[in-house]
């Protein structure tokens, strides 16, 4: 008798499994109720505000940034994805030389999104942006200069 009992038990478990998938299939086929995929270009994905997309440098409306060129981020970066090229800037009033950034180069292709540079920054000059459209046809385009051309240091950051 256990022979038949085994068969019926087996068939029962099979139908149990089919009921689970069936419970999803029919609502899906009729109303797309349980569909979880995101139809990407039409339906924009939900991006949360802390999403680590890429490192950007904050600029205000006068094209001023907060980066003093202290190179803390460059030292903190484990992959060498940040390079700062700095120059001596001469203050026209006092005539004193001052260190300032020429180019804040960021290699997105080498970045592992570990946040160490942003933690290390003493002046909160760089931050995460939630942009995730990184795909390019040229690897060179992934090397970015974070400070905008012609930008300069915001007043009062260094204090």
């Amino acid at each position: 008798m256990s022979y038949f009992k085994k068969i019926f038990k087996a068939i029962h478990t099979l139908f149990q499994g089919m009921s689970v998938t069936g419970n999803y299939f029919f609502p899906n086929a009729l109303t797309r109720k349980h569909v979880i995929t995101c139809q990407y270009p039409e339906e924009p994905p939900v991006i949360f505000e802390r999403f680590k997309g890429e490192v950007v440098m904050w600029h205000n409306e006068n094209n001023e940034h907060r980066c003093t060129g202290c190179q803390a981020c460059e030292i903190a970066c484990p992959n060498g994805s940040i390079e700062i090229i700095w120059k001596w800037e001469i203050n026209p009033e006092t005539g004193r030389k001052k260190k300032a950034i020429d180019q804040h180069i960021y290699h997105l292709s080498m970045c592992t999104m570990c946040s160490l540079c942003i933690q290390a920054c003493p002046t909160n000059a760089i931050m995460w942006s939630t942009n995730f459209h990184h795909a390019t046809y040229d690897r060179g385009l992934l090397t970015k200069v974070l400070n905008k051309p012609g930008s300069k240091l915001m007043e009062g950051v260094e204090e």
Binding site: T21, N28, V35, T37
Partner: protein, 358 residues
């Protein structure tokens, strides 16, 4: 459109000589077209159904509602390079997929799609299908052997085991119905169900036969839970590992065509083929159309059940597959034949409509 016995006889009744050959070729072309179109549609259906089972949408970009997706895929496969392994046996490698296609085309030729809509209505139709469907495995075997790949070979050997085993119980399930119908001719099996479908008329033995047929049918069409031939988690792609482009597409199409044949056979044997349920459309004009409509509706429902299996169950292991066949399906099938014979002999058929005097 009034058709005589079947398509073959209708077209060839007044032709002779080369015209006769031409007509034969035309019928073959018709069935080849059907083969391709049905294959494409079934692949589309499979993907869509799989999508809904898996909380996805399935193909929905190419064409309205994704309806042209498989055509795009087919075009891609046609344009792909046909790549042959260096040490492959060229003849066997190339012969493989022809065997598979020819086997399923032959099987297709005796399926009655509607009243008289059938290429050949030979009097041993059901026997013919069981015979030719075994040829397909030969294609798998030689294709895999010819491609000189261990994964292919393991898959093909599994396929051989599986086919030889499950042919038996599928055959026994068919014999149960043949007992009830008293004929091997496909069209007559359908006609015999005009009052009541065999699944109802034959009650217990027919139900058991139907379940056995569904299980062994799934096994014969190499689908989950019996897809050990491909078993992508174990063997990569199984017997068609080394095939690319159209070579792969032929195998793929043939697989879906086999599923169609199994479903069509199940419908013909158990669910009254092209007959409408309770004859509700018998009085309407366009009998051929209604026959096709009911036939394809039933076939699609059975195919859907196959898909439901596929997207729910895990895969069996090869020895468990054989245990299922030889320890469960085969003895049950044998007992079932005796039971069916007893029922036919004693006339214990379940015919509620007849009893009600309808």
């Amino acid at each position: 459109m009034i058709l005589t016995q079947n398509i073959f006889e209708y077209w060839t009744q007044n032709t002779e000589g080369w015209l006769y050959v031409l007509v034969l070729a035309l019928i073959a072309a018709l069935y080849l077209t059907f083969f391709a179109v049905a294959g494409l549609l079934l692949v589309l259906m499979e993907r869509r159904v799989a999508g809904f089972f898996q909380l996805r949408l399935g193909p929905n970009r190419v064409g309205p509602g994704g309806s042209l997706q498989t055509i795009a895929d087919a075009l891609k496969l046609v344009s792909k390079e046909i790549f042959m392994p260096k040490f492959a046996d060229k003849l066997l490698y190339k012969a493989g997929y022809y065997f598979v296609i020819i086997a399923s085309l032959l099987g297709l030729s005796v399926i009655p799609f509607s009243a008289h809509f059938q290429a050949f209505d030979i009097n041993v139709g059901i026997f013919f299908i069981t015979a030719v469907s075994s040829v397909g495995v030969l294609g798998i075997l030689i294709g895999a052997w010819g491609s000189r790949n261990k994964y292919s070979l393991i898959g093909a050997m599994r396929s051989g085991l599986q086919m030889i085993s499950y042919e038996l119980s599928a055959g026994f399930a068919v014999i149960t119905i043949v007992l009830l119908a008293g004929t091997l001719q496909m069209s007559e099996i359908v006609e015999a169900q005009r009052d009541t479908w065999f699944i109802i008329k034959g009650h217990i033995p027919a139900l058991i036969a139907f379940m056995i047929f569904m299980i062994s049918g799934t096994a014969e069409s190499n689908r989950v839970p019996f897809d050990l031939v491909e078993a992508e988690a174990e063997l990569g792609a199984g017997f068609h590992t080394e095939y690319s482009g159209m070579g792969f597409a032929y195998f793929f199409l043939a697989e879906f065509e086999n599923m169609f044949i199994i479903a069509a056979l199940a419908v013909t044997l158990f669910f009254g083929g092209w007959l409408a349920p309770f004859g509700i459309t018998d009085a309407l004009p366009g009998q051929v159309f209604w026959g096709l409509f009911w036939f394809f509706l039933k076939v699609l429902i059975v195919i859907f059940v196959f898909m439901w299996f596929r997207w729910t169950f895990p895969r069996l292991r090869i020895d468990q597959l054989l245990v299922l066949e030889w320890k469960y399906l085969l003895p049950i099938g044998l007992v079932n034949i005796v039971l069916a014979a007893l029922i036919v002999w004693q006339g214990w058929l379940f015919e509620p409509l007849k009893w009600l005097g309808l």
